[in-house]
Structure formats: C-alpha cells, structure tokens
Amino acid sequence: MPKRTDIKKILLLGSGPIVIGQACEFDYSGTQACKALKEEGFEIVLVNSNPATIMTDPEFSDHTYIEPLTPEFVGYIIQKERPDAILPTLGGQTALNIAMKLYENGTLDKYNVKMIGANQEIIRKAEDRACFKQAALKVGLDVPRSIIARNLEEAKKAAQEIGFPLIIRPAYTLGGTGGGIAYNEEDLERIASLGIESSMINEVLIEQSIEGWKEYELEVMRDNKDNVVIVCSIENFDPMGVHTGDSITVAPAQTLTDREYQNMRNAALKLIREIGVETGGSNIQFAVDPQTGRMVVIEVNPRVSRSSALASKATGFPIAKFAAKLAVGYSLDEIQNDITRETPASFEPTIDYCVVKAPRFTFEKFPEAKDILGVQMKSVGETMAIGRTFKEALQKALRGLEIGHVGLDNKLDYRNIPDEKIRLRLSEPNASRIFYIKYALQKGMSAEEIVQLSKIDIWFIAHIEQILELENQLIETYKKEKTINTKLFRKAKEYGFSDAQLAQIMGKTEVAVRQLRKDQGIVATFKLVDTCAAEFEAYTPYYYSTYETEDEAILQQLKLDRSAKGKRKKIMILGGGPNRIGQGIEFDYCCCHASFALKDLGYETIMVNSNPETVSTDYDTSDRLYFEPLTFEDVMNIIDVEKPDGVIVQFGGQTPLNLAHKLQQAGVPIIGTSVDSIDLAEDRKKFAAFINQLGILQPENGSATSVEESVQIASRIGYPVLARPSYVLGGRAMRIVYDRESLLSFIEEAKEVSAGHPILIDKFVEDAIELDVDAICDGESTFVAGVMEHIEHAGIHSGDSACVLPPHTMSEELVEQIKQFTCRIAQGLKVVGLINIQFAVKGNKIYVLEVNPRASRTVPFVSKATGIPIAKIAVQIMVGKKLSHFNLASSGELGYVAVKESVLPFNRFSGVDIVLGPEMKSTGEVMGIDTTFGAAFAKSQISANQSLPKKGTIFISLKDEDKRDVVSLAKKLVDLKLKLVVTRGTAKILKSAGVEVEMVDKHGEGKNNLLTLIKKSAINLIINTPSGKKSQSDMRAIRAAAILHNVPCITTLQGAWAAVNGIESMLGREFLVQPLQKYYQTLKNSSCTV
C-alpha cells in the first residue's frame, strides 16, 4: 500500500529529558522518524522538552515545540496546530502515556486526530498487564503465573496463592520504576506499595518469579498488510531478574537451536498479531527455563525502545525510520533496504559477527546506594561492541565502557579477594559481576559452580574461561620466552585482548606493544555491517574492527580513490562513548552537528563512537561510521586506515579529550584549539599565571601532587575550599571541603578517580552567582554566543544547576565585562573552535572558575535558545573559516527567556539524599522558553517533573544561613494565596513577623506529622535547604519521602526564589506556547545561515 493521502500534518512526540530508562535512543528514533516523514512530504509538528536533542533542531520539523511533555501542553499544541495524526510510538513510554491520556480525555477525538503506529486499543492490550496476559494465553502462549493487585491486601493474597519469590511489576512505567523481587512478606509490602504508587493506574502485577531463567528479546516489525519480520534476536548474559537495560546482552541469540528459535519467532508473530500492533516496531521479551526449555512470554512494548535502537545498530536495519514509513501507509516490501539498495525491507537481517552491549553504571556518584541490580533499571548508558567472536566483542565492550578496565583485565588481584566476597558478588547481580566471574575462575572455581551461583549460562562462562586460559598462556609464554610469537599474538588479538592488556602482561607501554604488534604484521581489519552477511553488496560504510585477513575499509578506499569523491578532505570526529552522568547527549549533539556542517562544506566525515543509543552512530549521520571503543588503540587503528586530514577531539566530551595528548604524540593531525592550549587550561599553575597576566581574578588556588602539599595549600588559602581531581568531567569526586579532616578523606577518594593526575584546590567563593559562557573563537576574534546565569549559587555543579539565558539579575555592565573577559581568555588561549568559561560574581568582583576550550554541555541549550548553531559554526572555524564569514550578532537581545533545568535520578537510588553539590548528579535537562523568566522557569519545572503549585500547601524549612530570607519568602508565598506549613523554629520567626503559618511536627506519627502529610499528598511543594556538610537526618527522611511521593522539592534558596517567581507568573497569565521557528523570527539577526 502506498503512502496515506488522508494525512498531511503529523504530530510527533519526543521523550523529554534523559532519565534512567529513557535516554538518547529516543532522540535517535525521533530524528530518524522526522527525516523519514519529511522525505515523504509530511508537515511535522514536534514536541519535546529536551533541548539537547537533534530532533529539536528547527530544520528537522516544521513546527518545533520545546514545551513540557504533558497532556495539557500537548493538548494545547493540538488545538493550535490541528494535526491530522499523532505518532506516539517513537518517543518512549512518555509519548505513549501522553497519547493515551489525550485519547482518554477526548482531545484526540475533539480535534479529529488519528493515532498512527499504535492506537489506544493496542497500547492498552500491550501495556495493561491483565489484557496482555489474556492476549498471550488466547494465542496459546505460556506466561508466568500472575495476579493483578490494586492494593496491598490484594497483593498479599496473590502472594499466598503463587508463593515466593515473586516479581512485582507496576503497570505503565518505564525502566521498571517501582518494581522489584520479593522473597518474603516484608519485601512484598515494601515493593508492592511503592509499585502501586508509581504506576500510572495504581496497579501492580504479582508474578511468579522466573529469576535465573534465560532471557531473550525479539525485535519485531509489522506492516499494514500483516507482513511481519524479526529484525534481531538478543540473548541476555544476566538471566531473568536483572532489568534488560542493566544486563550485558548479546546479539544474535546464541544458545537456541533453530527449532527453539523458530518457536519463539512463531510466538512473537502470534502475539503481535493478537495485540494488533498495526505498523511499526515492537519489542517482545521471553524467558526460557534452562532445565526444561519451557518458554514464557514476559512483555511486549508496542513501540520502538532502547532495545530496538540497539537492534538497529547491531544489524544495520533502521527500525525507527521504517516504523515511521509503515505508520504512514507503506508496506515493508515498498521500502528499500538503504544498505543493499537492491533488496526490500521485508527481510530478516542476518549478521556475521557477534554484538555485545554492556551497561554503564554510575554508582560512584551515589556512594550511599548499593550497586546491586534488580528489575528496576539503574544504568545510565551503554556501549556496544562488534567482533567476529563473542570473546572479542566482550573485551571490546568492556574497554569501551571507560570504567578503567582495558578489557576483561585484572583490575583487582584475585588473590586478595576473599572467597566469601567472590561468592556473594557472583550470586547477587551487581555492576562488576563480569569481572568477578574471572576472579572466581582465577581462584580455581569451576565454571559449573559459577553457573550455579550466578545462573549465568555456561556458554558465557566458558568463553570467559577461554579468555583466561589464553591470558595465562600469554603470561607463561612471555615469562619463558620474553616475547610473544606472531601466532599467539594474533590469537590474543582475535580474542579481543587490547594492546593495553598485553602491555600489562609484557610490562611494556601500550605504545610499545602497538609498535611490536605492527612490526609483526598484526593489524586490525575492518568489516562492514551490512544486514545480510555479505550476501549482497553494501553501500553504507558502517565498519567495525576485527583481526581477519581482509579489510573492507581499505577496499572501499581503493574504490573511492578512483572516484571524484575520493578527492574530498577527510575529517574524523571522535564521539563520547557511553552516556554517563556528566557526559551525555549534549556531546553527541555537538558531534552530529560537526558532521552535518562539515558534510555541507564538502568534507568527507568519519564518525567514531561506541554508543548505540545515539544519532551520531546512525549510519547516515556521517559519510563513514566506525563503531569502535574510544581508546587510543582503537582510534589509531582507524587512523591508520583512513589517514584523515583532521581529527576533532573537542566535541565528544572528556573521552576524546583524554586521548588528545597520545594522539598528538602519534602524529595525528588534531584540528581546532591546540592540545597545548587544552593543557594550559587544565594545568592549574600555568593557568593561574595566564589568567593573572590577563588581569582577571581567580579564586586563590593551587594544585597538589601529595597529601602534604594539599593540606598546605588548603590552609594557605583558607577553608572552605573546592577540591577536585583534574582531567575529569561532571565534577567527579568534587567536594566543598570545610576542614582538614574532610580534605584528607577526599584525597583518598580522588586517588581512585584520577590516578596520576594532580588534585586541584580552589578557594570556595561562597554565595557567589555563577555564570556559564559559551563562545566561539577563531584565534583572533571571539563571538560570545550565550551568557547563562545559574539559578543556584556557585558550589552546585553547573550541570545540576538551573540556568537562565539571558542573565536576569546581572547588570548590563557586568555581563559586558564578562563577555570581554571571555574574549580575552579565548584569544589568549588561541582557541580555534568552542570555549566554555565559568565565572563567579560576588558583589562587583568577577572570578574565573574554570575554562574549558572545548564543546560544553550547554552548547545545545545555547543553540536552541538563540537559534545560532554554534557547534556548526565552530567546526567550520576549525577547518579554517573565520568568524567574519558569518553574520553573527551578540545575543542578549532575545526578547524572550530560556531556562535550562536539570533532571535528577534520585528516584532510582533509594537511600541517596537528594542534596545538590559540586559533584554532578543529573542525567538530563529540559528547557523552558517563554517571554518572562517566571513563565520560562515554571515551564522548566513542569518539564522536569517538578510542577510548581498554583495553589495548595508549601512546606518551608531553611538552614540557618538562609533564615534571613525566610520572612520575605514566606510573605511572598502567602501573598500568592498559598498555605504555608513550617516547623516550630521557623514558625516562631514568621509569627513574630506577622506571617500566617501552620505548624507541623518533624517527628512522630501524629496526623500533623510532616511525613504523614506528604504521604497523604497534602503538601504540594517542599522548600528545604539542607545545612552544611551534615544534613539533619529527619530532613533527609522528608526529602526521601518527597521523591517517593513525587512532591517537588527545592533544596536551594535561589531555587526557592525562582519558584516564587514562577508561581507568580503562572497565576498572572497563560503560558505562551509557540514553536522555535516563531521565536527565531523575532530575532533581529535570524539571517545567520550556516
């Protein structure tokens, strides 16, 4: 069937901020959908609150709304735009839930908007546990025994019937929020009540636990002619019981015979037909009892998902793109496979390599949380690796994670690990289990025993055992022969051993091993990802490295050299690797922009990245894609083959920047700001001298390489000090240190984070306003693209702080001076490209806190807020253009206000206090845009799921230092007709100032107890500024309750004032809801074309 003609305008929903369980894979799918629909000539209305996405670039849709993803806002946009259809299957659970709400509240009917991709019926059938179970049973599939519970009583009854252990799954949540495994009544009460609360419809499924069974996923596509194909099968390394997002997974399925696989395939076909997913991609999860082979179906997601992004990257089959085309009427045979060009999309990819995905965790950011894994997802990112064998792919994945492992290495000495600990780390799923499997084998534990403890399939354990066997052979050979012969060396590379791993074995440097390896003629070869195992010629250059005989990248080069295309200059862009807190989608955005801009200029672009969730690893973002770990070795291997004219390390965050030195030493042409300038900015001593020379203030500081030196510096400049390790991103391990004792404990931790690099100690400027500046410099002149004022004071990591553009409390003179400082610094550093500077302003004094001569986290926000694509401009500067080539006017006269707010993952880590500090903890961001600060801030809060109340009750408790503000804050809130509740101490102050308040108890069980009020949803907002280093434990419990019950909680005084401002403006008038394109029209200088 050809394209539908009854639809002209389509509303596409994004997935909002990056949170655990919903990350940039939905930017990837949304961007693909935008491109596909645009190609078909549809008018696209896009809504997403996340400014760091490629999909919200104004050129990807016709009407780009960066507005809160709530039924109210989307409803309003529907009313305004009158789309013919809504496509909700590409924006994760968020989009699906909003579409359902809009159906239920009649908005879709009222404005005659069709649901395409999946309709309400299908969504309900797949998402509602009871409907799903019924559907599965109807087509003869097996499911785990389960009972639905809507309250604790029902849950207990269900538990009695089924028996422990049980899995509790809330309906309509993403990433398993609020779910868990209950081994006893106590667990059940805790998890079930939490689950009922977090479910959109207050319902949980109490299910027979099939923990330890083998877990599989199938990615399925169906078209409107009922043609169904399986795109990819995935087998999980971690068995049932660990959320699939937290599992190491492998594609394709390994331990199923064809009969069993076809059985699963048949089940998937039956199920998708019964549920009625009309068009698009779905993901179906299965579990198989390893003893009997009994197969049960676990769940269906009637939308694209994290797994479908992985499957797309693993096979080369673009699920989201095709899903969008199917949704508008095409059938699978009418869509061409881009990779082969000849064959249609109605086939099942077959692969001739092994894919391993490994999750990236950030438990180190939340020391109070245990790194134990369960059915609730905790990982913040992932890396994917491709190899010709599982062993190779696994080791590549582990080094691609960038967690300090160079493969399946020996970070710990197994001899120092007690047996008890090993057994525990094997039996209790956790973030480092894979390494403990190796330690266990090293200690002589049998593979069978490991299987018994971990329930991980013997197939996986046996491969790890083989890696270890080869490692032992390498060690012994080297010990005996002081060299490793070519045959064994090659085998080590085929097993995925990195040069760094071999360097450890041989006691040499990585660079020396690399030379030794090349001398023996052992070089990486590149193979194509082509959907068809080489059966057809492939046209998309998407490569991975392995150690084989034939290199297809070189073959392709030879072909290119003979064509006109081969004459183009080549620029290689190094991506950011797996998402983590501090380095996420913002940097991928910059890398994509670099590629887009350079392609437009006629360069051949080469992308290197290992993150399957991203747009940068889409095969048509760059001319050539290398899906490889971002390590020196892997990057150099590509450089050896590609010989690029320039390499960009400044756009992918700290990951490529950390490689800059070594790459430069290896003779790689790094373009843009020189590595020396990057170093100057990182080297405290040199940098202090440099800033001093420019006549700019800097908080007193020093850098120390020993404990004694640290203590000395701190006492010289005086406490409090800001202490941090160098060469890290996201304020990793950064602390405000108030005394010697905490300084010493900080140093202990810093050693682990950034071994070998000095510790930086700055005077902490208290109560200062912090500003972030993003600018572009061509070495001679500078364009200040955005000055952002942080809402929280200095001391809160800039990535966690809300910020506003343009600054709203600064005088013009100060802003002007800051711009001048920026120019002076940028030119002084001879920056060519992007630079980000953080300033602190106290009184009239401006201090430079930090200078980063690279792309920053705020680049996409600034670009979205100002309409100036600064990353695209910067990259053109890096290849030789001058700022004067662009028609740029300084921002600051926007006529509207943009607020960036961060989104925090505290609801995922129970036991972690939600207090902000100098270490970054947020996973994502949202943008609020409107004509006033208050309205923009209020929108940002709604988008960050921190909706400010227009009426109701607010609890206020401020620390002593903030108490001077409490009266004015309270008065203002009372003026706005909000009810205030406070504790005894605050009540006294307020009453004497004549402010009407109610008193509550912090402790006890009374009905006037604060916790009770929170549980009863009687509190609509909490303003609590925690005191100093030791927060009171009762307030901590209150903040935890706020998270649990989804009560917005503001923890800084500045945040509180911004909230007052927001509430005031919400009461005052309606929000302005308009697309970016409209905002940009109001700009004087919108003519800037790039």
């Binding site: 009969r259 109605s346 390599y353 092994c354 046996a462 080489a534 034939e550």
Partner: protein, 373 residues
C-alpha cells in the same frame, strides 16, 4: 588440530585449521547465511557434493541433539566456520558439534575469514574448492580439483536417494491416514515427511528412479517431488516420470522437485551465480499478496520465460532478486515452490503450502468421485 587450506578453483585460497578429522575433501563451495540450524544443514541431503561455509561465525553453540536431523547422515563434503564452540549449552543437547563432526568423519575447518570467503563467492560465484591439511602446494591442489566434476550436469540424486521404497506412516493421532502420498525421493528432508504425516498423510517414499507404473501401483492421492542436490537437468529419468504423470494426480514439488517440475513442463533451468542458501529470503505470494520469510537452499533456478504462459502461472517471487519462487499449472492441480516451506532450519512462514497440497488432494478426490458418478 592441523593447519589447513581451502583452495578454490579460481586460485584463491583461505587458511584455517581442521578439527580431529584431517585429510582432503572437495566439492562445490557455497555459503549459508542462517544464524541457527547447523545440524539441519549438515544433514540436509541437498548439500551432497558441497562444502558449506557458515557466515555466522560462532557455530556449535547449542551442541547437537537426537531430533534436529534432516536425514540419517551428514551430507556435506566439508564444513567451514570462523569458530567452533568448545562448550555448548542447551537442555536438549546430547553432544558437542565437534564430536559429532568427528564421529561422522567430516573434514571441518575453523579459523577462516568466512566473511572474506563469502564475499569472494558472491563476487565470483560458487565454485569448486578443496580443503586439505596435507597438501599446501597450490599447483597440485589445482590439478586435484580439476579432476572433480563440476556441479553443472552432475547427478547427485542417486547418491542420496533411498535405495528401497519405504512407508512413512501418518501421525499416530490418525487411526486411518487421510491421504496416501507418493514421494519421489531425490534427497528428501525428514521435516517434509514429519509435516505431511502430521497432516494425516501416509507417505510412500520412492527412489527417484521409480517408474510411473510403480508409483501408480499404490494409487496415491498426490505426488510429492522432493528437494535434493545437484543439477536438475541431469535428472532426465525423473523429469520423464513427472511429465507422464500430469493430470493423473495433484503434484507438489519443493526445491529440486520444483525445478524438475519446471523442466517437465518444458522449461529450462540455469545456474545461479552463488545460489540462495539461508533462512531470511523474502518471498512474495502473488496470489495472496503476502510476504513470507523463507528458508532457501538452491544453486539452480527455473527460467520462467522458458515456460508456456498459457500453461503455467508464476505464484511466488523472490523479492531480493526477483527470481522464480513458485509455479502452478493453469489446468492441473500442480504447484511447486523453490523455497523450503518445511523450513528446518528457518522461519515457518510458508508451512501453509502443505495445507494447500492437502486441499488440492481433497478437491481432486472429490471431483474424481464426481467424475466416477
């Protein structure tokens, strides 16, 4: 484990190591893109005379078992993979693939850049090749290969067909079989027999050399033409039998059976460059306008243009290369498909075709009764 060479007739060689069985073996080298189902592939009689290269690099992961066989022996001439699995995992497995290959005395080779080999075969076509762990002299290998007959014109059916007629009973759930099917065994896959039996058929399996009289003698409700190895054009004895049976009973042919039917209908077959061997080929059913993902294993193909348009209708087409995937006769209840509806290995999307055959026999029986009345 011995070092080994795979020498191809165009002079290209690939290196690897053999398992326990070493020595020399030759055949036509073809690649199969299925990611699972190696045991079915090894035992598929259609692979007689061929060295099979698996494109999926990790082979042997789930071991071997008693059930997933397509005949009573391993038919491939040689087996080439990237890596054999040392430690299998599957609840049904009884032994490792390596042991199985060794017991069946198959020369199998691993450590080969199977992707490069596959690309070579794609670009230059399927060709003869020799695996040797003894002789690494290219000149001498070339000579040895020259002595091996090429696939074109070769009759491999006589090597693999049953020597004696036998009966495969209907599934025990049927007290009386519904239909009696005469199957011409050119190398029949067991799953065809399993499926027909499950649908209530009692199958009389004849050697491919059987005469029409012998087949007639059992009074079949339908005739089935099986899959099998080699060049269909060499099988004049089967082609004649089939041609003479037109109009006598419904006929269903699969793979080689389909090609034989095409030839019997007066058509021509030709050799594909590298054939179709895999489990992911999209086939469009032109009658129902539906796409099925099919299992395929053939090196030859029917040329549709060589058939009489007033007699034969195209019913299935391969969406990858638009080659003929199915035929039906315009007057007689005769149809055939190039792909493998019995799968094993591969998707079950086309299994409904067996039901078509059943329906055809049912209708034919009805009209026969009518005619008699």
């Amino acid at each position: 484990m011995k070092d080994a060479i795979l020498y191809l007739e165009d002079g290209k060689s690939f290196y690897g190591q053999t398992l326990a069985i070493s020595g020399e073996t030759a055949g036509e080298v073809v690649f199969n893109t299925a990611m699972s189902g190696y045991q079915e592939i090894l035992t598929d009689p259609s692979y007689a005379g061929q060295i099979v290269v698996m494109t999926y690099p990790l082979i042997g992961n789930y071991g071997v078992n008693e059930e997933d066989v397509e005949s009573n022996k391993v038919h491939v001439k040689g087996f080439v993979v990237k890596e054999f699995c040392r430690r299998y995992s599957n609840q049904r497995a009884t032994k490792s693939l390596i042991d199985y290959l060794n017991e069946n005395k198959i020369i199998a080779m691993e450590g080969v850049d199977t992707r490069a080999l596959t690309r070579h075969l794609r670009l230059h076509g399927a060709m003869k090749g020799m695996i040797s762990s003894e002789d690494f002299d290219l000149k001498s290998l070339e000579e040895k290969l020259r002595a091996i007959p090429s696939m074109e014109g070769s009759d491999w059916v006589k090597e693999v067909m049953t020597k004696e007629k036998y009966i495969w009973p209907a599934d025990p759930q049927y007290k009386e079989p519904f239909y009696r099917v005469a199957a011409v065994d050119c190398g029949i896959k067991l799953n065809i027999l399993r499926i027909l039996a499950k649908l209530g058929c009692e199958i009389h399996v004849f050697p491919a050399t059987a005469t029409l009289e012998e087949i007639d003698a059992i009074h079949p409700d339908g005739l089935f033409l099986s899959n099998g190895p080699g060049d269909p054009a060499a099988l004049t004895y089967v082609i004649d039998t089939v041609r003479n049976s037109f109009g006598r009973f419904p006929i269903f042919g699969i793979c080689l059976g389909h090609q034989i039917l095409g030839l019997a209908l007066g058509g021509r077959t030709y050799k594909l460059k590298f054939g179709h061997h895999g489990a992911n080929h999209p086939v469009k059913d032109l009658i129902d306008d539906k796409i099925g993902i099919t299992c395929q294993n053939h090196g030859f193909c029917v040329d549709f243009d060589s058939l009489k348009a007033d007699e034969v209708e195209l019913i299935d087409v391969n969406l990858n290369d638009r080659t003929v995937e199915g035929l039906r006769h315009k007057r007689y209840p005769i149809f055939s498909v190039q792909h493998h509806p019995e799968a094993a290995p591969g998707p079950h999307d086309a299994q409904y075709l067996f039901k078509h055959f059943i329906e055809m026999m049912e209708e034919n029986n009805k009209s026969n009764i009518k005619n008699k009345l």
